[in-house]
Structures are given as C-alpha cells and as structure tokens.
C-alpha cells in the first residue's frame, strides 16, 4: 500500500507535464517524423502514396542541376539579409534611444513595415519596379539614370544580378523594425549609472559604446539575430511575390525550390524539406557557438 502510493507520487509530476509533452509530440515531433518519412516514399503529384522509394528522392534532389547553386544562394541570402539588418538596426536603435522632438512619432513610423503584410510589401515593391509603370523606374528616368521605360534596363527584377539586391533590400526593410525594437528594449535595460561612472572616468563616446553598450546589448542582439536567421532562411513571400524564383531558378532559395518541387514531386520536395530543416539546425548551432550563447543569455 505504502509502496504503491510512493510510486504514484513519483508519477504525479507526469500528470502536470504529460499534456505539455503530448502537445509538443503532436505539433512538433510528429510533423518532423512525417516529413522525414515521406522523403523516403514514392508519392504521386496529387499525394497518393505509391510505396517506398529508398533514397531515390534524395538522389534526384542532389542530381538537380540547380541544387548546388540554390543552396549557395540560400546561404548568401541569409548572411546578407541578417548582417545588413543587424548593422542597420544597431544604428537605428541607438538613434531612437536618444531624446529628440518627435521621437514618439518616429518610433511609431518605424513599426509600419513590420505591421504591413510582408506579401503586400513585396507586391508593392514589384509594382514599383515594373518596367513600364514602376514609380522607381520613373524616378530613375526623370533623374537621367534611365533612357526609356519598358526596356531591359528598366527591369531590375528580370535579371538575377539586379533582382537579388532588391530582394535582399525588401527583406532587410521588413526585418529592421522587429530587430530595432528588440535592441531598443535591450538598451533600456542598461542602467544609467554605469554610463555616469564611465563619463566620470573620462571615457570617450566610442569607448563607452564598445566597452559598455555593445557587451551589455549582446544578449538582446543574439536573440534578435537568431530569430532573424530562422525567419529569413524560411522566408517565402518576398521572393515568390517578386520573382517566383525566376529567371529559371536564379533567384530561388531552398524554401522557394521546395515549393516549386512540391508541384512536381512531393517525395523530392519532402527530401528538400529535410535538407532545409537540417540546414536551419546547423545554422542555428553554428550561430550559437559563434556568439557563445550560453555565457551570454543563460
């Protein structure tokens, strides 16, 4: 009797933790298992399972002539967007942390690109870059940078060399508000008396920033950048709305490629998802190692 009740008591925490574990298993682990499983199945275009397929889906994926360039582009895309976002946000956060007239309005205005739907923003930019009627092209023409509308020179989204910078610009544009706000929150946790002490000791402004502000901001910066890495890696609407990954696959990232493959071969698309998933995990681990996450945040 006594023995049994002790056993029950040992199980008691399970009653509290159990539902959470079940929930995690259901909404996190199960889809991952399903994704990995379907990457080894032969599935028709309309989702009917036609049996096992061994590693054929992966063989086909790795044999795609555009696979290597797409993975390389994905890496560049993530590094460029997150890097630029962080640099711009650090400067903006510093600016918005100063007292100046109209700061409240400026802070609200900063939210706009964040509050607007990303898909909408991307469509608006595509429209502004339209070779015939795009307002950006009209301005370029009026300033004398463009001979005439309608030609290839008025079509930055038509060539990957000019489309990628625009895609990266839009991605930075929509990522900056969140990152800046995270950093402003970080800045406001730094106690004012440290600055006072530094000034008493006669530290220069640059010295104060690099010796006090930046190190104390690192936890906030790490978290904000990590969220950006994952968001940007999985970003779909910007590229899809602006170029559909075209011309060819030359503006496709692995997420876009996975979506295009889904129309053709679900098994291969699932294999791409698994590779994608693995890459997010690797990127995250590398990122946390580089930023020494444990000593900074935990």
């Amino acid at each position: 009797m006594r023995h049994r009740s002790r056993g029950l008591r040992a199980l008691e925490p399970l009653a509290w933790v159990g539902p959470a574990i079940v929930l995690i298993a259901l909404v996190v682990l199960w889809p991952v298992v399903e994704m990995i499983r379907s990457s080894f199945l032969k599935i028709s275009k309309f989702g009917v399972v036609q049996g096992g397929n061994g590693t054929a889906n992966y063989d086909r994926l790795f044999a795609e002539p555009d696979f290597a360039s797409i993975m390389g582009r994905t890496l560049i895309w993530v590094v460029a967007v997150v890097g630029l976002t962080v640099i711009i946000s650090l400067a903006l956060a510093q600016l918005f942390n100063q007292r100046f007239p109209g700061r409240k309005i400026a802070r609200w205005a900063l939210i706009a690109p964040w509050a607007a739907s990303v898909l909408m923003t991307a469509i608006i930019f595509r429209w502004m870059l339209d070779p015939e009627v795009g307002v950006i092209n009209m301005i370029r023409r009026d300033l004398g940078f463009l001979d005439a509308l309608g030609g290839a020179s008025a079509d930055p989204l038509g060539q990957s060399a000019t489309a990628m910078p625009w895609l990266i610009f839009v991605a930075v544009f929509v990522s900056v508000p969140f990152t800046t706000y995270a950093l402003i929150a970080g800045l406001s946790t730094i106690p004012g008396d440290i600055y006072e002490a530094a000034r008493m000791d006669g530290a220069s402004k640059m010295r104060i920033y690099w010796a006090i502000t930046f190190p104390l901001l690192r936890p906030a910066l790490t978290v904000a950048a990590l969220i950006n890495v994952m968001n940007v890696f999985n970003n779909f609407p910007i590229i899809w709305a602006m170029t559909r990954g075209q011309p060819g696959y030359s503006t496709s990232t692995s997420t876009i490629f996975m979506y295009i493959l889904k129309n053709r071969d679900i098994g291969e698309s699932a294999a791409m998802s698994v590779v994608n998933f693995g890459m997010v995990i690797i990127l995250t681990v590398v990122f946390l190692k580089v930023t020494r996450w444990r000593s900074e945040v935990a």
């Binding site: 929930l23 275009k45 038509g158 011309p247 295009i260 053709r264 071969d265």
Partner: protein, 421 residues
C-alpha cells in the same frame, strides 16, 4: 513557475481535444442526416475565366447563375462552387487532393494527372450518350487515357496574333506579318517609332509552355514528334528559340521574357505599349477594357515561312472525382450544363469557344470569332494525355525562358527531364 505553465498548457490541450471531439460528432450527425434525407451537396471547384474577381464577368457570379438555375430544377442537389484563379488553382486542388478532400467536380486545365491515381469517374458514368456524341470528336478523344474517357472537354480556345493598328500605322506597317522575317522587320519599325515592346513575349511562369509551343509550331516542331516521343530539343524547336533569341537580343520584345507572365504582357498591350502579341479570344475582354479598344486586329500566327494553318487548341476540362461516389447527381448536373444555354453564356462572357457541334453551329455568324473558329478543326494540342505532362509542363514554366539565352542547352535539359522524369 514552470509547473504552472505546464499545467496551463495541459488544460489548453484538454480543451482543444474536447473541442475536436464535439465538432467531430457534430459533423458525423450532419452527414447521417443528409444521406437519410436524400439531399446531396456536390463540392465543385472551377477556374476563374473572368478578368478579375470583382468584375461583372467574375467566375463566382457566372457559376452562381448556372447553379441557381440547376438547383431550382433539382431541389435535392446542392452545388457548392469555389472559384479559384488560374495562378493558384493547380496548387490549391493538389493540396485538396493531398489532404484527401478532393472536390466532387473539378473544372480546370488538365485531367490526366488524376487518372493514374484512379481518382476520377469514367465519362460513361457521368455523361449521357447523346451529350457525349455532341462533343467534337477530336477534342473528346483527348479526354481518353488508354481508350477510356475520363476528361470532358469544357471549353476551348485558339490562338491568333493580335496587333495594334494604331502603332502599325505610325510605324508605317501595311499589314500584320505572316512570316518570321516579316515579323522581325515589323518589330524593328515599331521600335524605331518609339514602341517599348514591339513584340510581347511572355515566357514567365504563368503560361510559358503556351507561348513556346506557338513558336515551335511556327518552325514545324512541337513537344513530341510524329511517333509520340518527346522532342523538346528537336532542331525545329531550337531553331524557333534561336530566332526568338535574336528578337530578344535586339531589344524587340518584352524585356527578360523568362520572368514575365502572360497577364502582365496582355495588360501592357491593352495599355498600348506592345505592338504585337499572341493571344486568344479570352484576351479580347482584357484588351477591350484598355486604351486599345477598337484599335487592334487579329491575324493568324506568323510562322517561319508563312502564317500557321494550325493553332494551339487549349482546351479546358471538367471531371468528377469518385471519392464521394455521387455519379447520378453529377450526371444530372453535367447533362444540364451541356444541353442548356450555359456554354453559350461562357462564350458570350469570356469569348471562349464551345466544344460541342451544336455550340459551334450557333456561333458561325460571329465575325470577330471567325479566325479562331476556323483554326479549331486543325488545332494542335499539348501532349495532355501523357501522365508525365503536368510535371514536364511545370518544369517548362520555370525554366524555358532561359532558352532565349541558350536554346540548345535549356531545351536539352527539358528533354532530359521529360525522358527521365
């Protein structure tokens, strides 16, 4: 703190599960009631032929009219129509089928991809013999896979060369080009007179496979050769793209054609910025809304040595999925649709062409549609019946635009995809 969060999560999970349970039984009860009462709801998904979802000719309005009329005559059958635009319909239907919830009736651009999986009713099960006989034979034959009909031709289209008469006059071009040489000469004149896109060339994702096929036909090529083998990189096709490359390099076309959708280029034509573009009866409403209304003409498509005597017959299909097993009700609706005035309404609204002998006869007096109706008997078609076509088409849509830079390489890669895919 931690346990408290876990507890709250647990409670949420229990609530969510309870919610699922109750809604599940509710649905089950509803199903029982409907089968007992004899009323059947058919779910239908249709493509939107209208120019935009809010327009007077929007697909949703069109189908509501047809369905209301049908339901008034057949109170036991309800039809629930979901209209989806052409850009999204393939993906959304694929998602429905992947989730095991296909519609009962589907009206879209292809049917063959579903046949392999055994998802469709045979036409004999869902269409009366007299209606089957009224369908144009050549078209109906394309609805068969291995001799069994699964797809019913819904409407067809044909293609022609639209040209802007005003821009042609300004550039001093007397008549629309019949050969490629004439086409290039006309494009050069248009360019000189200040037209930014002398020839509209949409090779982007929306319909690159159609535009490419028209050029293939012009050189005597196609997606398959006479023996039915894939011939995407045939010498004729490479010749066609080499000619197009010349146009693109000279700045005589839409810039970067591999990224431009048909819709965008047609809109540019409607705005008077494009000299010539391949289009169909379905582009007439778009052009009539723009500034080129009454200022454009239609001619047969220019070929390498002369105007084409064939055209791209793009037919759309209607089909029925067998999952919910309502063949009798579906047959009633299909017979109603093909024998009534519904097809006539489609022609009036969307300038699409009928696929029934009766329908063509009724239209023979329409001068505007005559060039297209004339092309129909000798139309060329995509290799629809090949189960690989949907996947091949998808690859074509993504990559064939690159063939205006390197014809042999890109068409060669597509050929390899078609042969191995």
């Amino acid at each position: 703190m931690r346990t408290r969060i876990a507890g709250a999560l647990g409670l949420a999970a229990v609530l969510a599960l309870a919610g699922c349970g109750s809604s599940g039984t509710g649905e089950g009860g509803g199903q029982n009631a409907s089968s007992g009462g004899g009323a059947v709801t058919l779910k239908m998904v249709a493509a939107d032929y209208g120019s935009d979802p809010n327009a007077e000719n929007a697909g949703a309005k069109f189908w509501k009219g047809i369905v209301d009329e049908f339901q008034a005559a057949n109170p036991n059958i309800k039809i629930d129509v979901q209209v989806i635009n052409w850009n999204d319909i393939d993906k959304q239907v694929a998602t429905m089928v992947q989730n095991g919830q296909p519609p009962d009736i589907l009206q879209t651009g292809g049917y063959s991809g579903f046949v392999q999986d055994g998802l469709l009713h045979k036409v004999d099960e869902i269409l009366s013999p007299n209606v089957q006989q009224d369908l144009l034979t050549k078209f109906a034959d394309f609805g068969k896979v291995d001799g069994v009909a699964y797809g019913i031709p819904f409407v067809s289209s044909a293609r022609g060369l639209f040209y802007n008469k005003e821009l042609f006059d300004k550039a001093g071009i007397a008549e629309p080009p019949k050969t490629w040489d004439e086409l290039k000469a006309a494009a050069e004149k248009l360019k000189k007179s200040g037209v930014s896109q002398p020839f509209g060339l949409p090779l982007g994702q929306e319909e690159a496979q159609g535009e490419s096929f028209l050029w293939f036909l012009g050189a005597g090529g196609g997606y398959k050769d006479a023996s039915g083998k894939w011939a995407i990189n045939s010498p004729q096709n490479i010749e066609a793209f080499t000619f197009m490359k010349g146009l693109v390099d000279a700045g005589l076309t839409t810039p970067n054609p591999g990224t431009k959708d048909r819709k965008t280029v047609w809109e540019d034509f409607a705005a008077g910025k494009v000299g010539m573009v391949n289009g169909g009866p379905m582009s007439i409403p778009i052009f009539d809304e723009g500034s080129v209304k009454d200022k454009y003409g239609v001619a047969p498509i220019a070929g390498k040595t002369g105007a084409l005597d064939t055209t791209l017959g793009v037919m759309d299909w209607i089909m029925a999925f067998n999952k919910n097993n309502h063949p009798a009700e579906i047959k009633k609706f299909f017979d109603f649709f093909y024998t009534g005035n519904a097809v006539q309404k489609i022609v009036d609204n969307y300038k699409l062409l009928p696929v029934t002998k009766g329908g063509i006869e009724k239209l023979s007096g329409d001068e505007k549609l005559k060039p297209f109706l004339d092309g129909l008997p000798n139309a060329s078609f995509y290799p629809f019946t090949d189960p690989k076509w949907p996947a091949v088409q998808d690859t074509i849509k993504q990559t064939i635009g690159g063939a205006v830079e390197d014809p042999a390489k890109v068409l060669g890669e597509l050929q390899k995809t078609a042969e191995t895919g």
